[in-house]
Amino acid sequence: MNVVAQPLAQPLARPAPPAPYGMLAELTHRCPLQCPYCSNPVDLDRRTVELDTQTWLRVFSEAAKLGVLQVHLSGGEPTARRDLESMIRHCVEVGLYTNLITAGVGVTPERLAAISDAGVDHVQLSFQGASVEVTDKVSNFRGAHERKLAVAREVRRLGLPLTINSVVHRANIHQIPDFIQLALELGAGRIEIAHSQYYGWALRNRGALMPTRDQVFWALDVVEEARARLKGQLTIDAVVPDYYAKYPKPCMNGWGRQSLNVTPSGKVLPCHAAETIPGLDFWNVREHGLSDIWLNAPSFNAFRGTDWMPDLCKSCERKEKDWGGCRCQAMAIAGDAAATDPACHKSPLHAHLLALAEADAAGGEVAYDYRRYVVPDRAN
C-alpha cells in the first residue's frame, strides 16, 4: 500500500492565493541614466530579447482578467518603447489603471501629450537629487536635472497627477527637505522618499551609498515633521532604510501575495530582485498564461504564506505583518533565502547587518559602479 500512503502523507493542497492588485511591467531595461542603485538586475536584458507589442497587450489583458487593478509601466525607461502609447490605450480599454514611471530624460512635450491622450492616469518622475549637481552626478547624465524639471512642468500643464520619486542615500539624504520643497514647487500631489534598498546594483554600490545611522534617523524625523505639516497638500510615502531597523520591511506585503513583476524578456517575478535567489524557476509569459504563473509557478509558491518560514518567524506574532521580511535580503546576507531577514532584531545576523552598514557608512568618498550593460564573464 506504499503507493497510496505516499500521496496521503503529503499536505493538503493549499488554498488558491488571492488575486494580485498590482503589476510592475518593466517594458525595457534600456535607460539613458546610470543610477548606481537601479532596481534592475545586474545582468540587464538587451533590446533583442524584449517582448513585442502583441505579447505585452496579451499580458495586460490577462492581468486585468486575473484581477490586477493597477499597472506600473516602468523600465529602464519605458518611453524608450515607441509602442508605449498603444500599450496605455490597451490598458485603458481593459480597465487597468496606468502609472507611468519615468526618468523624464529624452521625453519631448509632444510625446507627453501623446501619452496623456492615450489615457495615462498618473506619472511618477524620478529625481536623483534636488539640485543640478547631485542629479547629474548620481544619474551620470549631464543636463538630466533641467530636463526633469521641464517634464514635471509639462506633466502638470497637461493636468496629470504627478509623483516625485527620490531614492535617498549618502550623497543626497541631506536634501530631503529640498526634495519636498521641489515637489511642492512642481505641483506634485505625492512624493516618495525611498531609501536605497541593497540588492543588485545597490548592493554592488553599498559602500558608496550607505548613510550613517544619524543621517537615517534625522531623515525619518524630517519626513515625519513634513508629513504632519503638509497633510492634505502633499502625500509623503517613505520606503524605510532597513539596515538600521528593528523590524524587517514587509517586503512586497508578502511574497506572491499582492503583486507581480514582468521583466522586459517576459519572465514573471514575485519582486524586482527575485532573480538574485538561485534555484528559483521563473516562468515566462511566452510559455505560460499569467494566471497559470500566478497560481502555479514554483517561484511564486516558494515563499508564499507562512509555511516556508523558519521557526523563528513562524512563532512570531508579527509573521502576518512582516511576512518574514525580505527573501532577497536573507539570500544576500545570510546566504539562505529561507532564513529570517537579518534586518529583524531577532535574527542571529542582525548585529552583523548593522556592522556592515556602519562600516560602509564610514567609508568616505567611494566611486560609483554605474549601472550599465555588462558583458557576462563566460571565460571562467
Partner: protein, 102 residues
Amino acid sequence: MTALVTSAIPRLARGVRLRHDEARGQWVLLAPERVLNPDPVAVEILKKVDGVRSIDIIIDELASAFTVDRERVATDVDAFLAGLKEKGIVTLAAVTVGDAAS
C-alpha cells in the same frame, strides 16, 4: 455645517477612477498608488459624480431613489464630498458664481 456650495458640480480628479472590480466582486476607487474600497453608501454617491450632475441633483436623486429624508442625505453627501475634496480625489466646478454664499 454645510461646507460645500450645492450648486457646484463635482467630478473625480484626473488620476482617479471608480470601477467595478469583477475579480473581487466589489467597487474600487483607483488613485495614484492607492486602491480604496468605498462602502455601499459611498459607491452610490460616487456613481453619480460624473462631472455633469450638481451636488443638488445628486442629493435629489439619492433621496428619491432610497426614499430617505432629503436633509439627511444632504448632510451625508456634503460630508463625504468635502472629505474627498480635501484629499484631492474630487474637484468641484462652480456653475453660478452668484450662488457662492458663505
